[in-house]
């Protein structure tokens, strides 16, 4: 460790400063990881250790019981579990694909066409970044009711059209990574907007839309439909799993097991897209 700290001297003055910095780094890292480790560890605890007071951090006698109990817990549902799984898969894929496509298209335009209107669009995007969905829940519900999509798959999917975060990310990336000259050349060679978009812009901005894929996947994966979905046959995995979580203290082991299981897909996608994600987040910061 000491050898490592000696290497970065650019911003620090002394050995003491180095020590302080690496201490902060490791401490902050620990604080980041502990909750994660704790939830994984807890999911392997037997009941008596779960209820022990004061709670212990590490598991003494690890057991798979919490995981084994899950199928039984989920067996007496109105609709077979596979239905929920299929719903989740369908909703997650369609939201992700739609969101990535729509945002990339909008970003492509705001990036290529510079006039009063696109400037206004981008201002709108930045403004919309300031609001989270829940603030607008009630009026949104009214609109959903008006266009008659409550309690259908559309209620999950359609709001994905209005992804402001996506447009922002992809646009910032395109600004610095898709050369205007290239687009101009393609245009002169007679390529239409659609062709330019598919053949040039999308491949060049791959890191950006991969990042967006990750973000929309993780929100879509957690979508429960809230108060927009009533029929059991349209509900998703998180809402069923949520019922396990809220079923009391004795189930807290299984609840943690569920949490860990549901955490896996987003983390896997993160690992697959990781290098791209950091690159995109960086380019989002450089401009403006």
């Amino acid at each position: 460790m000491k050898k490592q700290t000696a290497r970065y001297k650019r911003f620090t003055r002394s050995r003491f400063g180095n020590a302080v910095y690496s201490l902060i780094l490791v401490l902050a890292g620990l604080f980041t990881v502990i909750p994660l480790v704790y939830s994984v560890v807890t999911s392997f605890k037997p009941l008596d250790e779960l209820l022990a007071f004061p709670p212990k951090f590490f598991v003494v006698r690890p057991t798979f019981k919490n995981y084994i109990a899950l199928p039984e817990l989920l067996s007496n549902l109105e609709v077979p579990l596979s239905r929920y799984v299929m719903n989740t898969l369908f909703v997650t894929t369609s939201i992700t694909v739609l969101q990535v496509l729509v945002s990339s298209m909008a970003a492509f335009v705001t990036c290529q066409v510079k006039n009063r209107w696109t400037k206004l669009f981008f201002l709108l995007v930045q403004f919309a970044l300031l609001y989270n969905g829940t603030t607008l829940a009630v009026p949104q519900y009214l609109i959903f009711a008006k266009i008659g999509i409550i309690d259908t798959y559309w209620a999950y999917i359609l709001p994905a059209l209005a992804s402001t975060m996506g447009v922002f990310l992809v646009k910032q990336f395109m600004e610095s990574n898709v050369p205007e000259v290239l687009i101009e050349a393609a245009r002169i060679d007679g390529a239409g907007a659609g062709r330019i978009f598919w053949r040039l812009v999308m491949p060049l901005s791959k890191p950006a839309w991969l990042t967006l894929t990750l973000f929309s996947f993780q929100t879509a994966w957690a979508a429960t439909g809230g108060n927009l979905i009533f029929s059991e046959s349209l509900k998703t995995l998180p809402s069923v799993m949520g019922s396990v979580v809220s079923s009391g203290l004795a189930r807290s082991g299984s609840a943690m097991a569920v949490t860990v299981l549901m955490m896996i897909p987003p983390v896997l996608i993160y690992m697959a897209t990781q290098s791209n994600v950091l690159e995109t987040m960086s380019s989002a910061g450089i401009k403006d």
Partner: protein, 300 residues
């Protein structure tokens, strides 16, 4: 003359195509963002009554805002509470993520590992875990559980403290801060990445020049690194403020939701939310202008 007209027509064809490209998103935003937004503004200035026929609105001026400010029992307190919370949490987050970013920006082994480590909360915070742990936010529940287990199980700080003769009040205070550290660290991910990108955009020559001129590392830091970070600093501040102010475990937002969902009073809850946004937005704008006037100008 002819060529001008021709180029214009190509231009207009481009923008028509562009319009088609942007259309789906535009429809989405108008339908699911702008319309609801305007509706809440309308709610906040009206007296809303609900019956089987739907909503009936009657213009009521500033009544709802007056009610929220002067008659609602907790609103003002909640507002002040969250503002004081912002006032110390946001600087802590900024400083912490800045330090981590500076360290991560230098070259050492395991750098990419640490970078992705700090980004993990961003992935998880927003997703499933958040919704799972019931009404309280996941971070709170997760970190709270971890923290209590950590403190009770691994190291029994409390007994150590009491043996040293430190009163329980101090201990509780310390634990309160430790508890918040988890929350704060978990909210640093994006800021760290933004800061790193800012640091990387500082041209290397500046440092070389200052080295030749004989500046100390300390001067280098204050006269090159900090001023050059100006714009990303603004970005990070705005991001952090927004992140804080819309988080669902904020007191004002919780109260507004309670009024909204439990009591079904649309007008007052809209007014509460808008007032809150206005205050936070106003303060942010003020800080922004001050920052621009004093720091950025001087740095240039």
């Amino acid at each position: 003359m002819k060529t001008v007209r021709k180029s214009r027509s190509i231009e207009s064809r481009h923008s028509r195509n562009g319009f088609l490209f942007i259309l789906p998103w535009l429809i989405g935003v108008c339908l699911f963002f702008i319309r609801p937004l305007l509706q809440t503004v309308a709610f906040s200035f009206a007296k809303v009554s609900v019956d089987l026929g739907g909503f009936h609105m009657k213009f009521a001026g500033l009544d709802n805002y007056k009610y929220a400010l002067f008659e609602s029992p907790e609103y003002l307190n909640n507002l002040l509470d969250s503002l004081t919370e912002f006032s110390y949490q946001i600087p802590i987050i900024l400083i912490l993520s800045f330090i981590v970013a500076v360290v991560l920006n230098s070259r050492f082994k395991g750098r990419s590992f640490f970078r992705s480590l700090y980004f993990i909360p961003v992935i998880i915070i927003n997703s499933v875990v958040m919704r799972f742990l019931g009404n309280s936010s996941s971070v709170e529940a997760l970190s709270g559980a971890a923290q209590s287990a950590y403190l009770n199980g691994l190291v029994d700080f409390e007994s150590i403290f009491s043996q040293m003769g430190i009163p329980a009040e101090t201990t509780n205070l310390v634990f309160g801060y430790v508890n918040q550290i988890f929350d704060l660290v978990w909210q640093c991910g994006v800021q760290i990445v933004l800061f790193i990108s800012g640091l990387q955009s500082i041209p290397e020559q500046l440092y070389e020049v200052s080295k030749v001129e004989g500046a100390s590392k300390w001067e280098e830091f204050w006269y090159i690194t900090v001023p050059m970070l100006g714009t990303s600093l603004v970005l990070v501040v705005v991001y952090t403020v927004v992140d804080f102010c819309v988080s669902t475990n904020n007191k004002v937002i919780t109260q507004a939701y309670k009024v909204l969902l439990d009591q079904q009073i649309y007008d007052i809850s809209s007014a509460m939310l808008w007032l809150y946004f206005a205050v936070v937005g106003g303060i942010t704008a003020l800080l922004f202008v001050l920052f621009h006037r004093t720091c950025l100008k001087r740095w240039q």
